[in-house]
Amino acid sequence: MNLAIVGATGAVGQVTLRLIEARYPQHRNLKLLASKRSAGRKMNVNGKTFVVEETTDDSFDDVDIAFISVSTEASRRFGPVAARAGAMVIDDSSAFRMEQAVPLVVPEVNGSDLLWHDGIVSIPNCSTTPLVMVAHPLRQASPIRRIVADTYQSVSGAGGAAMDELREQTRTVMHGGPAEPNAQPQRIAFNVFPQIDGFNETGYTVEEQKMIDESRKILHAPDIALSATCVRVPVLVSHCVAAHLEFEQPVSAGEARELLSQMPGVTVQDDPAASVYPMPVSAAGCDDVFVGRIRKDASHPNGLAMWVVTDNLVKGAALNALQIAEEAVALGAVHGQRR
């Protein structure tokens, strides 16, 4: 398979290449694409030196699978172009996620949805993925009626510039200087702020609405009641979610732990007596979604509360995309219904 990585020099692109090296150490049929600004850079992948090229309309001839992780604008610009050239596009942006003809996929949850793709498959937002990964196995115990999710999202979710900004601000603040935000709406060093993306007229942010809309689509459960508060925290890598799930029937913590431990791609880390629970630094660099602090919700007889953590660049983006590609290859669905 010829793979194109659009956004090869970005945070997610870099993780994609690292994962390709780990999972396919012989694979060299790669095209590394980026903006004009990054074109010309050299990168070594699987022992071969690649020159990063500028992404153009002609970049996708002979490409089987194109991963796009740059910006919503870039996806809109190049997604349809790549699909028309015959590539299967796996897109990490919000450009196409809610379109009817576009599957929105987390393979362990709704992998078969990619069978009906028409050239483009979207992966969900990095804060949605951990939530659906735990909701999916749990609803086997009882249908989920309502989810309240409050997030603790790392700066890498806003890109490399935001990571640099956290580091720079930390340095400056520690030496008594001011911390001016640029890449983000607010200063982040030693601060938290409850805004990720812009606001809707409902008072929710676009990020919070994504969690609501995308979770319903992936779970095929349009009637689940969902509310989220998405907060940026001074963490470099990994997103966390304090999740409160309300079921139709009571579900015990033991039952929940059992179902979660059987879910591929989920690891239970839940041993309070030993202070074992997921944390950003322990999830960073790992493939799985980690879940702990699983307990019956004291405020609702049918409720469970838990703490879910995943590396937002890995399962939250790059790994999920690669897994979709793998699933598509396994199902013979790379070129979909179009051939």
Binding site: V192, A242, R295
Partner: protein
């Protein structure tokens, strides 16, 4: 003309208390600053006057009117009875006495009247409870509250000096570490989150989360209030934040809620999303008020509101609340405790 003793004068809350006293009162009150044996002999300046910190012992409270204690529970349990016996009213910042039947647990703007029945000791709530009840109180006047879900983002100053120092030291040392792999160290708080504050109970909740539940019920006089909290430590120095979801008996509009909150003393509504205006630790630290923003209809529940609450955990979360209780006692003329077995008094 009160004599105030501050036990735990060299700790973060004790220091904040002295700072606030200085800000609010002329510096001619006699003050006694006390701390552990380890800190005895240190000199601190209050109101332009240098005080020598004494070791706090059972005999330290002669002539003291109000003893403010912010130290460990063990210290509170040891010293409070002696302070009461010496005639002082104890305002305790720890968890030692909070849930006892004869100890009022007070946030003055919410249940100031509860100081009336004190028997020498008054407790202040946990720093994560106070902002929640400050917001819940005016809102429940609109409609009874059925259920609260609260997820917190708590600063390290709530855990004491060593975690503050740890955050500082780690933040600098780990700036350029490779955060893309699991190269963490035990106890790391810089660039990390810890979903555990205090020890765990058998229910899977931590004591911190349990405190929010029990204390809110006591302060609001709502013993059946349903609350679930997840308390998380974040790498912030000062101020606690909480994402809160409140479910009422009936739908409550955002307009109604904003108005009720704006009318609450000690609380400021900071809610202008169009201008990216909402409370944040960075702005709230050093302020007296509890700040509320992101107020909106809860999309998952027609009777629900969601919001974001931030307060300086050392001030309204501890020191300021304590001082306000002393002021409440003064204004209600309740500085000398009633006898526990009161008979008819002349």
């Amino acid at each position: 003309d009160l004599t105030i003793a501050v036990v735990g004068a060299t700790g973060a809350v004790g220091a904040e208390f002295l700072r606030i006293v200085e800000q609010r009162y002329a510096p001619d009150r006699r003050k006694a600053a006390m701390a552990s044996q380890r800190s005895a002999g240190k000199r601190i300046v209050v109101g332009g006057e240098e005080l020598v910190v004494e070791e706090a012992t059972a005999d330290s409270f002669e002539g003291v009117d109000v003893a403010f204690i912010s130290a460990s529970s063990a210290v509170s349990r040891e010293l409070a009875p002696h302070a009461v016996a010496a005639g002082a009213v104890v305002i305790d910042d720890g968890s030692a006495f909070r849930m006892e039947a004869n100890v009022p647990l007070v946030v003055p703007e919410v249940n100031g009247e509860d100081v009336e029945w004190h028997e020498g000791i008054i407790s202040i709530p946990n720093c994560s409870t106070t902002p929640l009840v400050m917001a819940a109180h005016p809102l429940r006047e609109l409609s009874p509250i059925r259920r609260v879900i609260a997820d917190t983002y708590q600063s390290v100053s709530g855990a004491g000096a060593s975690l503050v120092a740890g955050l500082r030291e780690q933040s600098e040392r780990l700036i350029d570490a490779d955060h893309s792999s699991t190269a963490s160290e035990p106890g790391q708080i810089a660039y990390n989150l810890i979903p555990q504050i205090d020890r765990f109970m058998d229910t899977g909740y931590t004591y911190e989360e349990q405190k929010m539940r029990q204390e809110s019920r006591k302060i609001l006089h709502e013993p059946e209030l349903l609350i679930s909290a997840t308390c998380v430590r974040v790498p912030v120095y000062v101020s606690h934040s909480a994402a809160v979801h409140i479910e009422f008996d009936r739908p409550v509009s955002v307009g109604e809620a904003r108005e009720a909150l704006a009318g609450m003393p000690g609380l400021t509504v900071l809610d202008d999303p169009a201008n990216a205006a909402y409370p944040m630790p960075w702005d709230v630290s050093g302020q007296d008020d509890v700040f509320v923003g992101r107020i909106r209809q809860d999309l998952s529940n027609p009777n629900g509101l969601a919001m974001w609450i931030v307060s300086d955990n050392l001030r309204k979360g501890a020191a300021l609340n304590s001082l306000q209780i002393a002021e409440e006692l003064l204004s209600r003329n309740r500085l000398k405790p009633r006898a526990a077995n009161a008979s008819v008094q002349a």
